[in-house]
């Protein structure tokens, strides 16, 4: 049976599905009934969504037999660490796990639903204590010198075995470089589904399945994903998306030593790690840009904008006036004679918005302007503007963002 088909009786030939299909895989034949071109269709479901009203398109699948769902219970998180420190995303996925646990009572399983951290590596016992302080019930630990910081191949085997033995129904990891390398290998080994970079996780109250929401097409679309028949339901979450679990006064969790898990020989030789904090973000590639104009009044005030740039993870831009005045190098100039940028967010501080400047940044997805002059042309292109003294507004913004 085809994975997707049109129920002819329900189809009214409105063609909304045709408009929705990103792959040109559906057409309305004779103006009456939609027909799917299976050679082009990727079964993404956009047409099903478009046909909400008539529900004339049906996707059926028989997934290859998955694990025994009822045997799985509880939520586990992958405790990524490097050079003796837990990755900053870990408290956040612990927080997400605790939130999920709070969303429903354990169902159909003898074991209570707990939250556990999977900790594998060399000399990791101190990290186990730290994990317990975030409120996890158990730390499943494999402390073994053969597990290197950068060897996801060995980690994947060990983690897969831990997870297969302990059977958590949900397994979360950080959407970090290591996380995005490890989790798919684990999923391929265990044969389950993995959803990357989730921005929202919630337990469906009816089916008890995890609803995983994530961006696609560069963030232009959001998709809600389910892993119905396979366990654990794996997902990664990026840093700064979920709220970190608070530290617990008197942790009651325990460390479960999983030393019996077989650790394979490593094929990856670690040579060295060179720290390289890339502070200077490339202007043209930056997702966020904080830009300053003549309104900052003095070159030293770029330091204030740099603070804002740091807190927002932005690159620093400048108007032609400030560059011509020698306040900042030409490489920061945005505009007709500078760089043309198209970031997701452009924050213009003290920039009036001369045509010259707009030419370089008006295609930004979101423009926020701060200027003391309410008639400044920048407000014509900004989606949000603050009329005020930037020396009051910017420090306040920094303060609010730092506080989280």
């Amino acid at each position: 049976m085809d994975p997707i088909r049109v129920v002819a009786e329900k189809c009214v030939g409105c063609g909304l599905c045709v408009k929705a299909c990103p792959y040109d895989a559906i057409a309305v034949a004779d103006g009456k009934t939609a027909v799917v071109d299976l050679s082009r269709c990727t079964v993404c479901g956009a047409c099903v969504e478009a046909c909400r009203r008539h529900q004339a398109i049906v996707i059926t699948k028989r997934a290859f037999r998955g694990q025994d769902v009822k045997a799985y219970s509880g939520i586990a998180v992958f405790a990524e660490h490097r050079r003796g420190k837990l990755a900053s995303v870990v408290p956040e996925i612990v927080g997400a796990a605790l939130a999920l646990r709070g969303q429903r009572p354990p169902a159909g399983s003898a074991r209570p639903a707990g939250v556990a951290a999977v900790l594998v590596g060399k000399d990791v016992r101190p990290l186990a204590q730290e994990l317990l302080s975030y409120g996890v019930d158990e730390v499943w630990m494999v402390d073994n010198p053969s597990i290197g910081d950068f060897d996801e191949n060995v980690m994947a085997e060990v983690v897969a075995d831990v997870v297969s033995e302990k059977k958590p129904e949900i397994f979360l990891g950080g959407g970090t470089v290591v996380g995005r390398s490890l989790m798919p290998r684990v999923a391929a080994r265990v044969l389950t589904g993995l959803t990357a970079d989730c921005t929202e996780l919630a337990i469906d109250p009816e089916t008890s399945v995890l609803r995983q929401t994530r961006p696609a097409f560069g963030g232009n679309i959001m998709a809600c994903i389910l892993t119905r028949d396979h366990r654990p339901q794996m997902a990664t979450v990026r840093h700064k998306v979920m709220d970190a679990a608070p530290r617990v006064e008197n942790p009651t969790g325990v460390v479960v030593d999983m030393g019996h898990i077989k650790v394979p020989a490593s094929r990856i030789e670690f040579l060295e790690f060179v720290e390289e904090k890339t502070e200077t973000v490339n202007l043209t590639d930056a997702d966020v840009i904080v830009s300053g104009g003549r309104g900052i009044k003095d070159p030293k005030n770029f330091a204030l904008l740099e603070d804002l740039a740091r807190v927002t993870g932005a690159a620093l831009g400048a108007s032609r006036a400030t560059v011509d005045a020698g306040w900042i190098p030409y490489s920061h100039q945005v505009g007709q004679t500078g760089k043309t940028v198209k970031p997701k967010i452009y924050i213009a501080c003290g920039i009036s918005g001369a045509i010259q400047h707009l030419a370089g940044m008006k295609s930004s997805d979101l423009i926020i302007a701060v200027n003391s002059d309410p008639s400044a042309p920048i407000f014509d292109v900004a989606q949000f503007g603050i009329v005020g003294d930037l020396f009051e507004v910017v420090p306040e913004l920094i303060k609010r963002l730092k506080a989280g």
Binding site: D2, P3, I4, L16, C17, K19, P22, S39, R40, C41, T42, V43, G45, A46, E49, A50, I59, K61, A63, R82, F150, R180, S181, P184, R185, A188, L191, G193, L194, A196, D197, R211, P215, F217, G219, N220, I221, M222, C224, T227, R238, K240, R267, I268, F270, L271, E276, V311, I347, L366, P374, F384, G385, I386, G388, E392, V393, P395, L397, G404
Partner: protein, 265 residues
């Protein structure tokens, strides 16, 4: 050296949007392109071939029109290209995709090195590379920004992490996913493009591979899309007036209601 590069045909995502009224994908003017990260993978494969000798084969799984990306790869100078296309492959998530790609690489046989781009710009998952490596039982390293040397059957590589570079050495056969920092992709040449038109590109179907039917396509995909929707966008042209604290508060509230955070990611 036998090198395989897995490439993907993707929609030019910058233009994919949802019509806010009908909540359907607007696909007017959306072209299909080679996944940009794969261009870096192709370039690196060609450079390795230039240094070490051997062959480069481009591989893709997709509908028949995905052959276009293979022709582009041939235009750049790869030796061979294979299209994996079958109705049975349709609807594959990353697990099913990795399964099929691995089966094809096994069929090509004797592969020393597999290159892939770090992620595809439509799915943005970066999951297929590690999945293929697991299926093949070979080591993998992601986010490669430089191959320092290939000597005595081992690769010395630089891996780009959030806070620095890890230098690692691993044996062949192996799989690498590459970042944009690794090279500057060459432009195709006319001779290459004209040869690409005539190049025979075989299509392999499910029956040509050693695969289990239940692991293919939608059936072989544990994850399923329940629904898609457009992320809420802020309405335009709001100007806030007041004290620093008031206006910043109003701005952040407004942004939050649109699901936008200014905090560093």
């Amino acid at each position: 050296m036998k090198i395989v590069v897995c490439v993907k045909q993707v929609p030019e995502t910058a233009n994919v949007r949802i019509n806010p009224e009908t909540n359907t994908l607007i696909r007017e003017g959306v072209q299909s392109i080679v996944n940009p990260f794969d261009m870096y993978a192709l370039e690196e494969a060609l450079r390795v071939r230039e240094k070490q000798g051997g062959t480069v084969t481009a591989l893709t799984m997709g509908p028949p029109q995905a052959a276009d990306v293979l022709r582009e790869a041939v235009g750049l100078g790869v030796d061979d290209a294979v299209l994996l296309s079958d109705r049975a492959f349709a609807g594959a998530d990353t697990l099913a995709t990795a399964y099929v790609l691995a089966a094809a690489i096994r069929k090509i046989g004797g592969v020393d090195l597999v290159f892939m781009g770090r992620q595809a710009i439509d799915g943005d998952t970066g999951q297929v590379g590690p999945g293929v490596a697991e299926n093949l039982g070979i080591p993998h390293v992601t986010d490669i920004r430089k191959i320092e040397r290939i000597e005595d059957g081992r690769l010395t590589v630089e891996r780009l992490l959030e806070d620095g570079i890890a230098r690692l050495r691993l044996p062949l056969p192996a799989l690498l996913t590459v970042t944009k920092e690794i090279n500057v992709p060459r432009l195709p040449s006319l001779k290459g493009k004209l040869a690409a038109r005539k190049k025979e590109i075989p299509t392999w179907k499910a029956a040509d591979l050693d695969v289990k039917a239940e692991r293919l396509g939608l059936d072989g995909s544990p994850t399923q899309v329940l629904r898609i929707f457009t992320p809420p966008k802020p309405s335009g042209g709001k100007v806030f007036k007041g004290t620093g604290a008031e206006t910043v508060d109003a701005l952040l509230t407004e942004l939050a209601s649109g699901g936008i955070s200014l905090r560093k990611k």
